[in-house]
């Protein structure tokens, strides 16, 4: 039952990063590449029409996590207190950037919200990557110092950074050089994903240029990926054990590399939707590989005093988990139906869609 909920939440969270991921990526592309007002407008629209229905996946994932793994929810949300609240603020800035931009015709007004949308998207991508980095690196559960625990073994608290910025100290912060690398991978991945989305959904004048951008970003991503695999070994020596024990898990990294390699042929790919599928594969493969490398652990402990948090020692009791299965199945069917209805009605390019007014 724990495994079912682990997979279900994993799927919902992955869907969130694929869907809202293109919104973040669109923001990054918008920030660096959109110059003409017409392009800016249509690029904002390609995210603005969808962000709120994409964000509900985050709310659903949060709710399910709370219900199925309350101890994990409590531990992680309080332990990463500051970065999480900052993410909340960024989500607000991203949303108001998208919603308020078109309300007045003054260029200055639009410029303000363009920056709000672009910068918060960039930082959100960075922070989500850093979060993933923190999960795979592990934290000092129980706040152990010289063998003495400061609090219960399933709680911790991380400052934003430690002055050494190193993942190898006794008290790593949220931001260190390892998590920054993972953060950058997320930024580059989502920028590629966003560029594909812009090409797919708009007729903006920078579309042809964006293909070249994707190619260059893809080279960066390949370099960063190989580098991160190398340093990951240093940070967490057991990181690849799961893959050697259960070779079938290799399918997840394979998904990642299929997307990565495929995108090197971006200029030969005829259909824009195929390129979008490839960047989706990178995101899906990246998240699932990270989770699979840890399974059944969901938050490793970096000290020997306290055990890792796993899906088994953080889950709710079995009656609750199985009764929730009944409504969750109905819920999942509804989610799929909504999703299909919405995509059908909002398909095609967004250039001529009416945005809210």
């Amino acid at each position: 039952m724990e495994i079912f909920w682990y997979i279900a939440i994993g799927i919902v969270l992955t869907v969130f990063f694929v869907l809202d991921g293109y919104d973040f990526g669109t923001g990054i592309i918008h920030l660096f590449f959109a110059k003409k007002e017409k392009d800016k407008e249509v690029i904002t629209k390609s995210a603005g029409l969808f962000w709120d229905s994409n964000e509900v996946w985050l709310v659903a994932a949060g709710g399910m996590l709370f219900m199925a793994f309350p101890t994990f929810y409590a531990s992680v949300f309080s332990g990463f207190y500051l970065p999480l609240i900052i993410v909340l603020w960024l989500i607000v800035f991203r949303a108001i950037g998208l919603e308020f931009r078109g309300q007045f015709k003054y260029q200055m007004w639009k410029d303000i919200w363009d920056v709000s949308f672009g910068v918060s998207s960039l930082l959100l991508a960075l922070f989500f990557g850093i979060a993933l980095g923190n999960i795979v690196r592990g934290v000092n559960l129980g706040g152990v110092e010289n063998g003495v625990s400061a609090h219960e073994g399933h709680y911790f608290f991380l400052p934003l950074w430690d002055s050494s910025f190193s993942p190898l100290t006794e008290h790593p912060g949220v931001i260190d050089w390892f998590t920054i690398i993972i953060g950058l991978i997320a930024v580059v991945t989502l920028a590629i994903h966003g560029a594909n989305w812009v090409i797919l959904k708009t007729n903006s004048s920078i579309n042809s240029k964006l293909k070249g951008v994707i190619f260059k970003l893809n080279i960066t991503l390949a370099v960063l990926t190989l580098f991160s695999l190398f340093v990951w070994q240093k940070v967490n020596p057991n990181s690849l054990d799961n893959f050697s024990d259960k070779p079938y898990l290799m399918v997840f990294p394979l998904i990642y590399f299929t997307g990565l390699i495929g995108l090197f042929f971006i200029n030969k790919i005829k259909k824009d939707s195929h390129a979008f599928v490839l960047s989706t594969l990178i995101i899906v493969g990246g998240i699932t590989s990270s989770l699979a490398s840890l399974f059944p652990v969901i938050l490793p402990s970096v000290n020997d005093t306290h055990e890792h948090l796993t899906i088994y020692n953080t889950a709710a009791e079995s009656y609750g988990l199985s009764v929730a299965l009944n409504w969750a199945i109905i819920g999942f069917i509804l989610l799929i139906v909504y999703f299909i209805v919405q995509k059908r009605l909002m398909g095609g390019k967004v250039d001529h869609m009416d945005y809210g007014h």
């Binding site: 029409l49 709120d52 229905s53 964000e55 509900v56 709310v59 659903a60 949060g62 709710g63 399910m64 709370f66 219900m67 199925a68 793994f69 309350p70 101890t71 929810y73 409590a74 531990s75 992680v76 949300f77 309080s78 332990g79 207190y81 500051l82 999480l84 609240i85 909340l88 603020w89 989500i91 607000v92 949303a95 108001i96 308020f100 309300q103 706040g143 400061a150 609090h151 399933h154 709680y155 911790f156 608290f157 709710a316 009791e317 009656y319 609750g320 009764v323 929730a324 409504w327 819920g331 509804l334 989610l335 909504y338 209805v341 919405q342 009605l345 909002m346 009416d354 809210g356 007014h357």
Partner: protein, 443 residues
Amino acid sequence: MEDMIFYDRLQFAFTITFHYIFPQLTMGLSLMIVYFKWKFLRTQVEKYNNAAKFFMKIFAINFTMGVVTGIPMEFQFGTNWAKFSELTGGIIGQTLAMEGMFSFFLESSFLALFIFGEKLMGQKLHFLTGFLVFLGSWASGWFILATNAWMQHPVGYEILDNGKFVLENFSALFTNPWLLPAFLHNQMASVVTSAFVMASIGAFYILRDKHSEYGKLFLKTGVVFGLISSVLVAFPTGDWNAKNVAKYQPGTFAAMEGIFETEEAGAEIVLIGQPNMVEKKLDNKIAVPNILSFLTYQEWDKQIPGMDQFDADELPDNIPALYYSYHIMVGLGTIFIGVMALALFFLWRKKLYNIKPLLWTIMFLVPFPYIANITGWYTTELGRQPYLVYGLLRTSDGISPTVSSGNTLFTLLGFVALYMLLGLLFLILVGKTINQGPTPQKH
């Protein structure tokens, strides 16, 4: 420790107060939009359709604000109330996850379809999408109230040796005797807010002599919905809730009614007075004897326990705030019934649109249903203190064990600054929409 609890509570109170400005309007408004759309389907008069679409614009702005201020609420269970989440997540996680999965998805998907899909779908389907938005927003209220009802009056649980609450009976969460009265009271109160907003916009259009055809429609609809909902908020739903408090949280009941000493031959109802916590009495009291006993138990001389019957650490920790919240809510609710009854009387005599003082009153009354709704929630939440789960888990035992007060103060200040900006933008946007009016724009 003390200031940690204080900042955690203050941050939650601040963010939930700001958040609840938006859902209370959208829940009520969605019902009224469905009414306009239904009226259009029956009469084919374009005015009703334009009214529905106009209010859906206002709905959409509020919905966006509700989403961006709502996500911090879900997060804060984990960030600031980790121990509470750990101990009770197996139970309230159920209802909160259902809210995310069923109502939130329903509402946001069909809101987009309502706004963008009218031409694509045809009128009947368009009505259906509007109805589903209404269903989603009320279902959302239902699940949140189910969560709150469990905290007020826990049912269907078992407590393990390690202090964890474990779900034992899923359906008990929804048959909780606290839930239905609280839900109906809350939903009616949200209709009061939306009806007052609508009537206020109507009065504004009439007074300004702009869009006055719509002004009359909005005022009329607002007054009718406003009177019905104001009455229903008080009776039977408000009455029903008060009886529940008297039954399940007698200490809270004494505190919110301001009864310091038990009276043998029936309790009086306090209309005005200021709690004096040093001398344990009400200053400047005006009260009517025996009425409270009659209202609560239909017996004039029924004894109602006062605060003297309870230990101090079982009573709410801020009795004056609880007492004032409750009395502000009740006082405003009474005024609402009076004003709306008067307006309906003049509407019936076909004079309402010309009585300027009444129109001005209705226009400026718009903040007060918001205040009544929020003080109503303060009554519930302050009344449950000093517990998170009534009688079982104290508020001081629910906070995050590792987050220091300095960090919470930092984020609280950040929220205050950010929400001031949000509030300002919200007012600009709603103001602009109201100013443009409901007449279709030329493209």
